[in-house]
């Protein structure tokens, strides 16, 4: 599984013109104050023929994504666990997906300690309100089970955890 660095950049351009009086363009850039970095690339373990999991006890590695925020109360962090493989051998049956996201570490426990408590989850996406400046590490689990407990075809499998920084 590959972690994706989602970098949200906002740029805006405005122009203003008046007939018969000329025009003066105005340009500006807004630099994002939220940076996403892949801290650890995840690995699927294969504890049995029909399961792929990032659980360490099953030989997997949890993917870890870091959010660095320099402006408090300005962004939401959204982490979405995979619901499909980005590449895999041809699959004839359905794959069921489960995944979770949790706070692994923070750089300011006093102000970030409640991130995990206040998170909201919808579908495979978990959203955190980044109320403080600093770094937050999120870890995700992902489990893929092949339909009807069939064995996964041999080959390489990859999926992606998507991370987004959304302006409030």
């Amino acid at each position: 599984m590959k972690g994706i660095i989602a970098f949200l950049a906002v740029s805006m351009t405005a122009s203003y013109a008046l007939a018969d009086t000329g025009s003066a363009p105005i340009t500006g850039n807004v630099q994002s104050r939220c940076i996403i970095t892949t801290d650890t690339v995840g690995v699927y373990g294969n504890p049995n023929a029909y399961t792929l999991t990032t659980s360490a006890s099953d030989g997997g590695v949890l993917p870890v994504i870091r959010f660095d925020v320099t402006l408090a109360d300005a962004y939401y962090a959204q982490v979405t666990t995979p619901t499909e493989f980005t590449s895999s051998p041809s699959l004839s049956d359905t794959v069921s997906w489960t995944g979770t996201t949790e706070v692994k570490a923070v750089s300011d426990a006093t102000n970030m300690g409640d991130y995990e408590t206040n998170k909201t989850t919808f579908g495979s996406t978990t959203q955190y309100d980044l109320t403080a400046t600093g770094s937050t590490w999120f870890k995700s689990t992902s489990v893929a089970t092949y339909g009807g407990n069939k064995a996964f075809p041999g080959g390489a499998y990859s999926a992606t955890v998507e991370a987004k920084c959304i302006a409030q």
Binding site: V103, K104, A105, S107, D108, A109, G113, E116, T117
Partner: protein, 291 residues
């Protein structure tokens, strides 16, 4: 995870990194100071060479607690820094990672390190790593290439030799004549010593007197030179007073002679003289053959 962060910590606290020159400052990081205990002595953590300045700390730990419990954790060093995280009302099991930047603080100023807790909970997997800079030439004697290095002078060994004096040996029995001889010898030695001291004092006195007289002569010569200089100045001023100040008109003196016909005739007197010389020469040559 810590291994991944350490290069970042080093990069944050160090602008440059070099071991290329033995006297160049270099940077480094310590091992985990909190590996065995939540209290540690800095001398056991920092490297031994003098000139060690600590410029940053990275720490991490994971608290284990019930969400509803109050729990505070403080990490720091006596007299230098401390940082407290309040986990009250927050769940445990979430690691905290912090990088604390500090101005360069000499090793000697660092007190013992500690992780203290307040409330209900425990601290697990604590890591405290210090970033430091070593300036080898903090002690100039560290290396001969250090500025201010002085070649060490070997210590002077004082040797005391006890001479055996048979005349003071109580086990030596001298006759009356020998005793008298020894006493006379000692008196003679003392007398010679006194004379040598007087002579040295006299030489020193003469030397000082010569130096004083030389200084007097030098000052007298200087005064004489000044007097002569003053007389010369007076005489020169008397001479200068006899002259009047006048301004010599300047300008350009152009050529006034004009060659009218653009040629210069030969000097007739010169030609006559030259001819007379030639005639005389011919007569002299002819005299050789006519006679």
């Amino acid at each position: 995870m810590l291994k991944k962060l350490l290069p970042l910590v080093v990069w944050v606290f160090s602008a440059s990194y070099s071991y290329s020159d033995s006297i160049s400052p270099y940077f480094g990081i310590t091992g985990n100071a909190a590996i065995g205990s939540h209290q540690w002595i800095m001398n056991n953590v920092l490297p031994e060479p003098p000139g060690v300045d600590v410029n940053g700390v990275f720490y991490s730990y994971t608290p284990q607690k019930v969400t509803e419990d109050d729990f505070k954790v403080t990490v720091g060093n006596e007299g230098v820094w401390s940082d407290t995280e309040d986990w009250s009302g927050n769940p445990g099991g979430i690691e905290v990672r912090k990088v604390i930047g500090l101005p360069s603080v000499p090793k000697e100023a660092w007190g013992d390190g500690y992780i203290s807790t307040e409330g209900t909970g425990t601290v697990e997997d604590a890591t405290v790593v210090y970033s430091y800079k070593v300036t080898p030439c903090f002690d100039p004697q560290f290396d001969p290439n250090c500025p201010g290095y002085q070649v060490p002078v070997p210590p002077t060994v004082e040797v005391t030799i006890d001479f055996y004096d048979a005349t003071k040996d109580e086990n030596v029995n001298l006759s009356a004549a020998d005793s008298v001889l020894v006493e006379e010898n000692e008196e003679q030695l003392e007398k010679e010593k006194e004379e040598e001291e007087k002579e040295a004092e006299e030489k020193l006195r003469k030397y000082r007197l010569e130096k004083a007289m030389a200084a007097i002569d030098a000052s007298a010569l200087l005064a004489e030179n000044q007097r002569i200089q003053q007389m010369n100045n007076i005489m020169q001023s008397a001479v200068d007073s006899q002259y009047l100040t006048a301004t010599i008109p300047g300008g350009t003196y152009k050529e006034t002679v004009v060659l009218v016909d653009n040629k210069i005739d030969d000097n007739k007197n010169g030609r006559r003289n030259g001819l007379a010389q030639q005639l005389l020469h011919n007569q002299m040559v002819d005299m050789q053959y006519n006679n």
